[in-house]
Amino acid sequence: MTTAVFWILGPLAAASGFMVFRFSSMARATIALLVSFLASGGLLIWLGLAYLGTVVILMMIMEMVIMAVFMIAYMMNPAGLMPMAMYHNKRGSLAISIAVFALLAAGIFAAPWPRRAGAPPRDVTFQLGAALMGPQMLTMIVLGITLFATMVASVVLATHRGRYDRFGDDLKRRPPADPMRGGVGR
């Protein structure tokens, strides 16, 4: 049964991943990437990682929709009404990627993989949670700080209006001068 599920979802993930770079329409490219992620999320669920697979599906749907908004904003020809191929060094990168795949495949088949050590626990999600709250607490803290730093850095990079634009030169203007008033009035 695992083989059947793998042969359905695996080629789907790889094919839609490849189609990302073949579509002329940016919307279709993003949805192709979303299909690829949904397939790998499904594979993770099938491998027994129910929580992580579902979280991958959840996150990737949201991420791809936001990415679609950005793609359409930044790329010309977003609807693919004209054929488009924006590559540089197409043959070189194809050669490099095929070489990398061949190398990885050789390693996969040549490596002496060890035997399975143990069986999955009864509650896989609890295993993850207990590990992140216990022995892997350092990882959890680093992830949290990284995400917070990313949030701050992204907003700083992307915003083009700062405190002085909103509150005036003496930071005393209330309510702030925004193009759109928010619901709370801050």
Partner: protein
Amino acid sequence: MLQLFLLLAAALFAIGLYGALSQQSIVMIMMGLELMLNGVTVAAGAFWHYLAPASAAGQVILVVVVVAMAVEMAAGFAVTTAIFRARDVDMTDMAADLKR
């Protein structure tokens, strides 16, 4: 079976690498990076299931990879927005400031 999953992961990684190397637009390069990390996610899940299911380390690696994906996308779009605002372009060829 582990090798099949790892082959899929390698295929996704290679396709993503092709995209990341050959595309001109920053957002398309980011999609290539996302595909590469997708491959790593599948590989991490396969490693956990087929080699060490009793240990949580495989799952923690998966969490780290997924967080890396989110961070990369957020930072990438913020940088693209900043470059677009500064120069009105979104191609890497025109953002090659460090090239001499």
